[in-house]
């Protein structure tokens, strides 16, 4: 195996007509890796935060996500219960352990399990790490309290987004992730609308293998 690596790297260097790079060059390239230099950022995200939130709502809607706006985090359990009733779904959900502190007890009819998803789960509720206005994209980060299966196995995926977590471009969301100082998470899911396919006669169908419905609860305040 080490042999194959040496042969491939050797062949690349022969093709580039040089040996291993000199130390000053590798230092320069290592610096390029460490500085997270941004390339071109589209102008559409050059606006104030309030306008970014509006852009996020517009773009996520265009990608077939549905959106409900809430005043405060404690409204989430009620909004979830309403959503289940509207969609005729059973009052049984699986949620990220990270959302355990919400006042779920206000809704005693709702059965909530805090864990990863199983194949039989119909509805999941998860928090978003950030929301990217540029394309209406959610950034979901894996961790012990935010298992990634919740984002893919259930038919309906409900995502809680704090409006203070809405950013302009992907790069702003990456900077927030790096600012955690927790290294790279195992999985980062950028999610833009529900699952879809165009594989049969180029006709777009929602709900291929992932969720058929993506519902965003956009919360203004923290309370």
């Amino acid at each position: 195996m080490a042999d194959a690596k040496a042969q491939i790297i050797g062949q690349i260097r022969r093709a580039l007509k040089r040996d291993a790079l000199p130390p000053e060059k590798t230092a320069e390239l290592s610096a390029r890796l460490a500085t997270h230099h941004r390339n071109l950022i589209p102008d559409r995200v050059a606006r104030d935060h309030e306008a970014l939130v509006e852009l996020f709502v517009e773009m996520a809607g265009a990608a077939n996500a549905t959106i409900t706006r809430l005043d405060k985090l404690s409204d989430v359990p009620g909004a979830v219960a309403t959503l289940l009733a509207q969609e005729n779904l059973p009052a049984q959900i699986v949620a990220s352990p990270a959302l355990q502190d919400l006042p779920w007890d206000d809704r005693p009819v709702l059965t909530v399990r805090f864990d990863r998803a199983q194949g039989s789960d119909a509805v999941s509720v998860t928090p978003a790490f950030a929301a990217i206005a540029e394309t209406g994209t959610l950034m979901l980060v894996s961790g012990p309290d935010t298992p990634s299966t919740l984002n893919f196995l259930p038919d309906s995926h409900v995502v809680v987004v704090k409006s203070s977590d809405v950013v302009g471009p992907y790069e702003d969301a990456l900077d927030r992730m790096r600012a955690r100082n927790a290294g790279m998470p195992r999985t980062i899911n950028f999610v833009t609308g529900p699952s879809r396919t165009g594989d049969i006669e180029q006709t777009i169908q929602l709900g291929a293998h992932g969720p058929r419905r993506l519902h965003i609860l956009l919360v203004e305040g923290d309370g």
Binding site: M1, I8, I9, Q11, I12, A15, L16, K17, A20, L21, K25, L29, R32, L33, H36, H37, N39, L40, P42, A63, D115, R116, A117, G119, T135, G136, S142, G143, P144, P147, S148, T149, N151, F152, P169, Y170, L174, M184, P185, R186, T187, I188, N189, F190, T192, P194, S195, R196, T197, G198, D199, I200, E201, Q202, T203, Q205, G207, A208, H209, G210
Partner: protein, 475 residues
């Protein structure tokens, strides 16, 4: 998969007379071309982003050794394993060894062109391991034992009736009375069938759209969510990627991601873009216990530093084939191997040899649309010309074409004789065809006149007109 690119002319001929295929190919324009044009029009920075994408990849390729080593070190620092495969056979053996290490019986697969390139499915089946394609298009063609006809829409050559027939044949539990007329019904049937497979698989294999040197991550871009279920649920995740997938930083990846979905499907962003870094962490409730990356060379390192290096910028969006008049007419199977369309016409001869694939660089009208829509600004027509030159140098061009070129070359080097012959020829054809104004058949030109008339020349030759214009007063 065994290449049949040498038979391109016969394949293309059959494809043109295949009515069902021709009906399926009509979907290309509304499905891909129009949507791309609309999304690109909404992004004023498009041309600048293309230029930036080109620069990022050129910089990476010039320092490919450094970035690959930096990437591999990062993967390993986070508990992943990197395997280096010089050939397709090496890659197949590495995958088999990993599968056997956990006694795997079934393997789910996200869409991977690299897996197609090294013919992984056939190999695993031979060794008693069942590979299950989970991308809807790949799943359909796996049932039909067909190769993909498009790099992002593998079943674009099929109609919904053909898909329904395949499901009825293979889904033995399927109720005969159940309707499978609409795409929605077909999708629901496949979703239910595959859900079981996702949950039961021992190993999940995906491709990679990018490898990130900064973080040691692999990135997949999908719409169905099948790639994510493939890599999340089994105990082992294997990433198959070729060397040129590497980019330096996450910011370089996001920059090129702005080009990818818009070029491929005309979406602002694909439904799922997933960055994976190493295996399950302490405390994680899901995710794979092992994370392996198999890096494939398979001739790519030989392209570095040659006139074909630009091809290594390709991000496999499929825009070139979606906009190609030849691909639109004959579909992907005629190209006879894994990569069709203009990118395939350049890449296939590099990977399977010019002797096998010499026809493909000729499958072009040189209209230039492929280069105009390529998000990475790859000069595809120029590289097809390079291949034609090599084909000529190696005496692989058919004799008729060689003699034709020799005759043309003789006259082209003698301008006075050329002008005389052109005048005489034009006069002769003009006189013979004066009555009808066109020819239904002409000696040595049956390739043209079999399907359409040749107009009879009128008036002076181009050279004569040009000379007259330059002499005209007032110019």
């Amino acid at each position: 998969m065994l290449a049949t690119s040498h038979a391109f002319k016969a394949n293309a001929h059959d494809a043109l007379h295949d009515r069902v295929l021709q009906r399926a190919l009509l979907n290309l324009k509304s499905g891909f071309q129009d949507k791309r044009a609309q999304t690109v029009a909404r992004l004023p920075e498009w041309e600048a982003l293309r230029e930036r994408g080109r620069e990022i990849k050129n910089h990476t390729l010039a320092h490919l050794d450094f970035y690959l080593e930096a990437y591999a070190a990062k993967v390993e620092a986070q508990g992943g394993v990197v395997h280096w495969a010089r050939t397709g056979a090496d890659m197949r053996d590495i995958v088999l060894e990993i599968c056997r290490s956990v006694g795997a019986r079934t393997v789910t697969k996200g869409k991977s062109m690299i897996a197609e390139e090294v013919a992984l499915n056939e190999f695993l089946e031979e060794k008693g391991i069942a590979p299950i394609e989970t991308d809807l298009g790949e799943y359909i063609i796996q049932l039909r034992h067909e190769p993909p006809s498009h790099i992002i829409a593998p079943a674009v050559h099929l109609t919904k009736e053909q898909v329904a027939d395949s499901f009825r044949e293979h889904h033995t539990m399927l109720d005969a009375a159940r309707s499978l007329v609409e795409p929605r019904e077909l999708l629901d049937e496949a979703r239910a069938e595959l859900r079981e497979k996702f949950l039961a698989a021992d190993v999940g294999i995906t491709g990679a759209n990018f490898l990130v040197a900064e973080t040691g991550s692999s990135i997949i871009v999908t719409n169905e969510g099948n790639g994510d279920l493939t890599q999340l649920l089994p105990r082992i995740h294997i990433v198959l990627a070729s060397l040129e997938k590497i980019v330096p930083t996450l910011e370089d990846a996001t920059s090129i991601l702005r080009l990818l979905a818009r070029s491929a499907t005309g979406q602002e962003f694909s439904a799922y873009t997933t960055i994976s870094t190493g295996p399950k962490r302490p405390g994680d409730r899901d995710g794979p216990e092992q994370y392996h990356v198999v890096l494939l060379d398979n001739g790519r390192s030989n392209m570095v530093g040659t006139e074909f290096q630009d091809m290594l910028r390709c991000i496999r969006c499929g825009a070139c084939m979606n906009h190609c008049p030849v691909y639109s007419a004959v579909g992907g199977h005629a190209y006879g191997w894994v990569y069709p369309g203009p990118m395939g016409a350049v890449l296939t001869p590099t990977l399977v040899g010019i002797e096998e694939a010499g026809h493909l660089p000729n499958a072009s009208t040189f209209c230039g649309r492929c280069e105009a829509v390529c998000p990475m600004k790859i000069p595809l027509p120029k590289m097809m010309r390079h291949w034609r030159e090599r084909q000529f140098e190696r005496h692989l061009t058919p004799n008729a074409a060689r003699y034709g070129l020799a005759v043309w070359g003789f006259f082209a080097r003698r301008p006075a004789l050329y002008h005389l012959a052109a005048r005489a020829g034009a006069w002769l054809l003009g006189t013979l065809g004066r009555r009808r104004g066109r020819f239904a058949s002409l000696p040595l030109a049956s390739g043209w006149t079999n399907t359409r008339d040749m107009p009879a020349p009128q008036g002076a030759t181009f050279h004569a007109l040009w000379a007259a214009r330059r002499r005209a007063p007032g110019r």
